[in-house]
């Protein structure tokens, strides 16, 4: 193992409601949904119709622009709804489970015995390809390309994130099989591990290079880890995936079925009993949160509070998410809030008197705490972005749609999650993640 890479800049937001490492009991919900909006740039073409019977692994829709990339049902049952939004855009493809756990059979195989093409085909057919995303652009990988490396971040440093040591324990066999499969895609497979964690599963894994990281969030972001080990230059791609997805890939090869099982952490200040739950990709969160949250106007988030998507209390877990966060909505007017001493207010600056209690855990809500302004304060973003990138200048180049500058300033290395902390600390309350996404979309459009 190489030396420890110390991440100095960043921020661990001390949120209340951390989950204990115990499994909570919750029944599986009736409804599951795959949301095309989880896959950036994908235009869904439906394969099944409302009323059709599906099994776990049955194709629900594919990508119009890349038909080989298929999206499958997580459970067996019946397709009950295709919910559409503005301009008939498909928002949710809802499957009602029949509780039978029937699954499409794709055939077990040792990745080592297959060719690269066969591995890719298997992943595509079984609906496991969307687990593999690429940098730059943070979109589903192009199966016709060969990346320079595959990178898996073995830990999540974001607020209230799941502890993968706990989540993965006992699944060594599948993780190894998953890594073996990834190794067929590209010989250079890397796993970023947390220097402070035991990382039992990773240390016993063969065939992957381990990189040890230490420091505050976003040290666990795969983009940051790539930046510090094998920065992406123009024309290069790195494929990335997450630990539980490696396991799903492993199970596909070991057992020949599409495995939609996920362990998710339910956390946040408004959760009564925060803990880990066994559920599936796209599961409705209703059974998790019902009776387990506090009173009040709440915000449910699939994923962490920095990058996740807002849900209703019966919304569906995002495809890539292993976390559900519940925080107060915070839609209140606060009298003279900007002028009060602010003993209980969280801020990176010490402009509120909360610096007097440094160990406190905060119950943050979704209030913006101010109005949107132009860029005024400088040097804020750099402090929470541990990369050799000048974020403000990059954002400005995106706002003026200067493709060359965006490229020169390192847009290939960034995904929205990497700059989420910049957005968190921004005094001007700018929506930096949307700005970056606009830039990425522009790059995709202009350069493809």
């Amino acid at each position: 193992m190489s030396e420890v890479i110390k991440i100095k800049r960043g921020l661990d937001i001390r949120l209340a409601g951390k989950a204990e490492k115990v499994f909570g009991q919750a029944a599986l919900p009736e409804h599951f949904a795959i949301k095309p909006s989880d896959f950036h740039g994908v235009v869904p073409k439906m394969v099944v119709k409302v009323g059709d019977k599906v099994k776990a692994g049955t194709v629900l829709f594919y990508d119009k622009y890349r038909p080989e990339v298929k999206f499958v049902s997580p459970v067996s049952g019946e397709l009950v709804a295709v919910n559409r939004g503005e301009r008939r855009r498909i928002l949710e493809v809802v499957v009602k489970t029949d509780g039978q756990e029937e699954a499409e059979q794709f055939g077990a195989a040792k990745p080592a015995d297959l060719s690269r093409e066969e591995v890719i085909e298997k992943l595509l057919n079984a609906g496991a390809w969307p687990f593999i995303r690429q940098r730059p652009y943070d979109v589903i990988a192009n199966p016709n390309e060969t990346p320079k490396a595959v990178f898996v971040s073995g830990f999540d440093s974001s607020p209230l994130a799941p502890d993968y040591d706990f989540v993965l324990s006992g699944q060594e066999k599948y993780f190894q099989a998953g890594i073996d499969a990834l190794k067929k895609l590209c010989d250079n497979v890397n796993v970023g591990i947390n220097h402070e964690a035991a990382s039992k599963v990773y240390n016993s894994t063969k065939g992957a290079a381990l990189h040890s990281f230490q420091g505050p969030h976003p040290a666990g972001n795969v983009g940051v880890q790539i930046h510090h080990t094998m920065p992406i230059n123009k024309g290069e791609t790195v494929w990335v995936t997450q630990p539980q997805e490696v396991i799903a890939i492993g199970k596909l090869f070991e057992e020949g079925v599409y495995d939609a099982n996920r362990i998710v952490v339910l956390a946040g200040s408004e959760v009564e009993k925060a803990g880990y739950f066994r559920t599936k990709v796209g599961a409705s969160i209703s059974t998790l949160v019902k009776g387990n949250v506090k009173e009040g106007n709440l915000r449910y988030v699939s994923g962490n509070v920095l990058t996740g998507t807002e849900l209703e209390d019966d919304g569906y877990l995002g495809f890539y998410h292993s976390q559900v966060s519940v925080i107060p909505e915070g839609d209140y007017h606060e009298f003279m809030g900007w002028a009060l001493p602010g003993f209980g207010k969280y801020s990176v600056s010490r402009s509120f008197f909360s610096w007097m209690c440094s160990k406190k855990e905060y119950r943050l809500d979704a209030n913006m705490h101010g109005g949107e302004r132009a860029f005024v304060v400088s040097g804020q973003y750099e402090k929470v972005l541990p990369m050799d990138i000048l974020p403000e200048f990059l954002f400005k180049s995106i706002l003026v749609e200067d493709i060359d500058k965006m490229e020169q300033l390192g847009i290939y290395e960034l995904a929205e999650e990497d700059i989420a902390l910049c957005e968190f600390v921004c005094t001007s309350k700018l929506n930096l993640q949307s700005i970056l996404r606009t830039g990425i979309d522009l790059m995709i459009k202009e350069l493809s």
Binding site: S378, G379, D388, E416, Q433
Partner: protein, 385 residues
Amino acid sequence: MKALRRLLDNIKPHVQKGGKFEKFHSTFDAFETLLFVPDATNKNGVHVRDSIDMKRTMAVVVMALVPALLFGMWNTGYFHFQSLGQEVGFWAEFLHGALQVLPIVIVSYVVGLGVEFAFAQMRGHEVNEGFLVSGMLIPLVLPVDTPLWMVGVATVFAVVIGKEVFGGTGMNIWNPALIARAFLFFAYPSKMSGDLVWVSGLTEGEGVVDGFSGATPLAEAVSGNIDKFSLMDSFLGFIPGSIGETSTLAILIGAAILIYTGIANWKIMLSVFAGGYVMALGFNAIGMNALMEVPAIHHLCLGGFAFGAVFMATDPVSASRTEKGKWIYGFLIGVFAILIRVFNPAYPEGMMLAILLMNTFAPLIDHFVVQGNINRRLKRAKVNA
């Protein structure tokens, strides 16, 4: 509180689009957000945000200015009664000073905010908080005897030409408060320099005791009388000067607040002082005229140097926006401030011009820092290829 909220909620429909008083939308909005932090919640992107906003940021800077303001009030009274040869005690001095200074502060705020509100309304923007600080900075860099109408004219000039023509807070090239100062300095030099304007009432000259001079230490230094005020006097602020600039100590208290809260950049402050010190030290070694021989540390306590370093140079909008650039930017301000002061005694206020000059060059400094970043990335790509 609730009644106030209800009142605002009742008025709101009338000032929103389509309402009877649509014209006052920005104005209403400014007052509403001043009284209540809005209930807007994060929609896409992060779900939680840091509690800090622009109002808080500006409020902290204004707080940091308070020591300099209060000291300036006392200083005004102190020299006023000195000039009359009277001993009246601390409170009478403070009260006199307050009565001289407050009208200037009020004029600056009323005029400046008036212009800001008008522009916000014309553009359909929210009112920006930037002027909360500028409105305090303008009085503090002026001599106490500045006529109020001049304060008003300078404020209008600063807000309109210094800021709004560029698009408002965040878009301006120069520090608006210094634009006000520079405008008065070049438009009405007789009211901005000389030996009389620094002490209240001295311009009229009624009842002034014989031999009293209201000259600033810098003016004294030009004629070789730097020893008239000791280093300690200059540091504590027992010297005549612009309202807020006299006490280096009070300014440093403000600096401590700004640095501790993380609102202003310590790199800029430190490098301005370093630049000034190094430059002055260099001049000490040559020592060709009286100002060159002023001890380096003494230079830093005179004129607007400390005030400029702490409150003016650190304005994030007009300063360099890259971290490396901030070191260069600050250092050069220090260097130029002393350079101008020493070689052109007609402009003893070298600090103002040095900051405006470096404001102009800050984008150029940033350009090279950004280019450095770009080159590193290109080099990395070439090594790998």
